[in-house]
Amino acid sequence: MTESIQLCTFFVGDLHCGLAVQHVQEILRHQELTPVPLAPRGVTGLLNLRGEVVTGIDLRYVLDFDQRRENDEPSNVIIRTSEGVVSLLVDTIGDVLDVPASTFEPPPRTLSARARSQVRGVFKLPLGLLLELDIDRITEIGSAQEARPN
């Protein structure tokens, strides 16, 4: 029997993306976020998740898509990282899929450089490609940016 991986999937732009289920804490419908002026691009605001302040990161920015339209209502994929809980803003939520590990391949060159760096690899599914995102990379926003000069 071939090994399989369970991925929680969602859509960003025309990409079908997924993250291993063990990273995903929960899925939330659209939430109103508190904007953070001066925040690095891609950080959309703060969310109250049962008393915890969670940073929202827009995957449209991370994956190099054009800006989200104003009245868009993105869903939240709440993930656990080594440095706390983060909410990923995605266009729509997909299914949780069992994908065979054997169909895994490195990210295709056709992706933009920025998007490619955020992707661990691709699963070739009968219906199309599923991109497994690199959880460390997609939550890296802001840390690469140096502290603002005072």
Binding site: P40, V43, L46, G51, V54, G84, T139, G142
Partner: protein, 724 residues
Amino acid sequence: MASEGPGLDEVVREFVIEGTEALDQLDVDLVRLEREPSDAALVASVFRHVHTIKGSCGWLKFERLEALTHAAETLMSRVRARELAITAPVITALLRLVDAVRAALEHVAVHGTEPPESYTELIAHVEMLARGEVDGGALLAVEHDESLGHAEGSVRVDVALLDDLVNKVGELVLVRNQLIQLAALHNDSALSARSQKLNLVTSELQERIMKTRMQPIGNLWKKFPRLVRDLATALGKTVRVTFDGADTELDRTLIEAVRDPLTHVVRNAIDHGIESPTERRRAGKTDAGTVSLRAFHQAGQVVIEVKDDGAGIDLERIRQRAIEIGISSAERLRQLGPREVQELIFFPGFSTTKEVTNVSGRGVGMDVVKTNIEKVGGVIDVSGEAGVGTTVRMKIPLTLAIIPALIVTNRGQRYAIPQASLVELIRLEGKSVQAVESAYGVPVYRSRGKLLPLVYLSQVLGLWSPGQSRGSDDSGLNIAVLDAEGQHFGMVVDGIQDTEEIVVKPLGKALKNLATYAGATIMGDGKVALILDAAGIAASAKIAAEDGVTHATPAAQAEPATPAQATRPILLVSVNESRLALPLDEVDRLEEFATTDLEYVGTRKCVQYRGAILRLVHVAELLEERRSLPRTPEADSAGPERRWAADLHADERLQVVVQSNAGRRVGLIVDRILDTVDETLQVRDEETRRGVTGTAVIRGRITELLDMNAAFAKAQEVGTDAAE
């Protein structure tokens, strides 16, 4: 016992905890030993535990307990030396002794002292056994004082559990806040009575829970005697360390946060502060230097002081170093008071050690200390006197988790300002909004005779730029006066709401680098609000910058007071290398224009200003040129007009002093606006040239006083008559 010195209560508590553990182990070991009397490792273990307890008793001066455990130790040492066989009576006697010590520990835990019993019977019995005599006499049962109960104060709790409790209480506080808001909406007396009760209970619970995480700072200080000794020895110095206020408590997380900064400061004191014995003798001091650590509570904060009686801070060396690394100019440094100069050591990369030692002075220095202290909402300052010593003073909030804060609104969002950094609130309405002036591009407000630099929160947060219209603010101006490390500044916000207890939540990784925020909190309605950081805002608005107006700082106050009666606010400007003073109360506003704003009407320079045309005149054009021989090389190649033209090309912003007279305005262009000072004018000299009324020494520099009336009149002519 508790009066004997810092941290002794803590030591006693630890003794009880460790002693109890040792006794439990002894119970197990003794029982096993009875079955396996030849087990040498077991014998050694028993001996070690008895010895440890004895040692602690001796150290804590529990003499009677020491005598008791000493007898047991003697017995065990004979067993260990195989001079005595382990027999049931031996084990029994030791177990009784364990019980006696356990009872004694319970007494210690409650009273802090050893019990009054002298244990003579038990000691005699154990000694008899040690001599190898057979148990003959009756052994009195050790009295167990049941009324003392168990040492409940020493239940050990996992720190993670405590942290979790603190978080949960934070949640509870939030729910409480929400409920109070809800109850206020409903006119239900039963509901409001319950919510009041809940309010009280929550507050109490919160306070108690926070207490559980409090630790005496002495816990942290314990390592210092050793550290100081090692360091001093390595450096060939003699250093004594003293402690005061070791029982001052602060939150565990803060103890952790100050651990490294405090260690660094203490190291610095020994490495850079305290001199070698030879140097000290030469300076007429005792060979041994002293580093004193002091902690105390003050206005809801904990103050931690590290004071040494060393060489102090060499201001001249700081000045040199500041120029070397380019953080300030010689000119600017001359204007700084001694305290302000001392503050320079907190600049990144600042280290004045002549040679790098392996102890400190690797370039990571006081700036890191400062950053770490500020991270937990604290402030740090340094003071001292050359030859006498240095004092570093840190002010740390008592607790981080729940703080009182003022909620303000801006652009439809709420922000929390920690009460600790709030000085006062000012509301300007109607005409008084006009009282906001501008000095060197920085809006200022005169608050009780002091100039208060203003920042607009919207601007700090990048929501509008100065060029943009701020929209209608006819409704007035709300100014929250904040304290950023002793520097006061006003922050203009759209609205001011209430003071609330807020729970500080850390910001995620992506936002950690934003100095403007100290964290976030969850409001009564469940939405997130950002907590503003006064120091971060001051830094991003460059309030504490070298240029511009610095005022109302403690440093400025620390300077020798000038006679109060005749002081006048004076604006200092520089024009062609000379300093000019203008009476500030005759100045309308200070403005800054881009050279691109400049338009020409004929040969007159004008800008559009407040819906009218403002004529601009460079002050140099109004003054009679003093000398035919210019002083500096660059002035040599350029007269006033050419310099002025050069300035234009340099794409500088024009510094303009706006003056009005009988409804007419004129803008005087100056090279730089230097400062505003409150000064008693002592005119030293009569008119030196046309356009000035006299000369005075202001801040140690010769300064000409601009004749404002003459300037105004002259400015009307310039450009009409004076052909270019």
